[in-house]
């Protein structure tokens, strides 16, 4: 910042915002003083109140999402066909260290987006068999949420999936 801007900045800093009117402070005082006893207070005044039903709802939703995720992953693994004779691509899932604080996080969403699908042509398998190699490119996104303080972690991973499909040629 050049000197004249610095000078102007310093001049602006010397100006003091107008004092808050006393009647306004009194008004806030009255409003805070008139705070209702806990029994009479509306129970679900705000979502920032951790006892609120909204948080309960989010907790339930997070739990349901986590269960749905586990069930979906289990189902996919259960139904996955035996791999064809091709180099297997294994996405090494990192095994996160789980200190006490990390246990507070629960998975809430998992999604994947297919953004590119390319036929990479013919490949030769063992035994001179022909096959076509198809590369699918995904972005996987996983979200965990800490229900105690509403912090969240989003993990976005690019993933290439290579499928080798046996091809048979019929000259007719």
């Amino acid at each position: 910042m050049d000197e004249s801007l610095q000078e102007l900045e310093n001049e602006l800093k010397t100006l003091q915002p107008r004092r808050a009117p006393a009647r306004w402070l009194d008004q806030i005082n009255r409003e805070l003083a008139a705070e209702l006893p806990a029994s009479a207070r509306p129970r679900y005044a705000t979502a920032t109140d951790l006892g609120s039903w909204k948080w309960l709802g989010w907790r339930t939703a997070a739990l349901a999402a986590a269960l749905a995720l586990v069930a979906t992953v289990g189902l996919i693994n259960f139904r996955r066909p035996a791999p064809v004779a091709a180099p297997a691509v294994v996405a090494a899932a990192p095994t996160p260290a789980t200190p006490a604080a990390a246990k507070a996080y629960e998975p809430v969403t998992a999604s994947n987006v297919l953004y590119d699908l390319k036929d990479e042509g013919e490949v030769k398998l063992a035994g001179e068999a022909s096959a076509r190699q198809v590369r699918a490119r995904y972005v996987d996104t996983y979200t965990w949420k800490n229900t105690r303080n509403n912090a969240s972690i989003k993990w976005t991973v690019p993933r290439d999936e290579i499928r080798v499909v046996p091809a048979s040629y019929n000259p007719n």
Binding site: M1, L5, E9, P17, A20, I28, N29, T46, T48
Partner: protein, 171 residues
């Protein structure tokens, strides 16, 4: 800031920080009365429900004030449009800064007018940086813009002010 966490000391904290918060709210409201309503609403909500949350209370309050101001503007949009039609769109112009002994009142008025002529997006960043002493990161969070954008708006605002005030101050 820590004072806000102790019951009964909010008044001292608000006496010290209230003027800055009001000035900040004034950037997003049509009148000082609206700014007072908005800061009151945000402060009472903060004091009742959010004062135990971690982080800088002033930054949290400014975010809360901005949201309250946007809600207030939405709630009163119809009334505002009707009033503008009736009074030709005149806004209440109130004194933003405190008069101080021995100061040049003309200069203060000149700065206030120049501030009013700044684009709103530049003025809000300037107010948050100069009088609320937030960092560009905190300003970015409060306004939901990248910190770099906040920094460049700040520089544009200062440059525009310098241009406006040049004959009086830097000529």
């Amino acid at each position: 800031m820590e004072a806000t966490h102790d019951q009964g000391t909010w008044k001292h904290w608000l006496e010290a920080h209230g003027p800055k918060l009001l000035l900040c709210a004034r950037q997003w409201t049509r009148s000082l009365a609206d700014a007072e309503d908005v800061v009151q609403e945000a402060f009472v909500r903060y004091w009742r429900h959010q004062r135990h949350l971690p982080g800088d209370p002033q930054a949290l309050l400014i975010t809360s004030i901005r949201r309250a101001a946007l809600d207030h503007a939405r709630r009163h949009a119809r009334r505002t449009a009707r009033e503008e039609k009736a009074d030709g769109g005149l806004e209440e112009r109130d004194c933003t800064f405190e008069a101080q002994p021995g100061e040049d009142a003309d200069r203060r008025n000149e700065i206030e007018s120049a501030l009013q002529r700044l684009p709103a997006v530049q003025r809000e960043v300037l107010v948050l940086k100069i009088w609320n002493e937030l960092t560009f990161e905190q300003i970015g969070e409060a306004l939901e813009i990248p910190a770099n954008t906040a920094a460049s708006r700040y520089r544009y605002a200062l440059a525009a002010l310098r241009k406006e005030l040049k004959p009086a101050c830097h000529g």
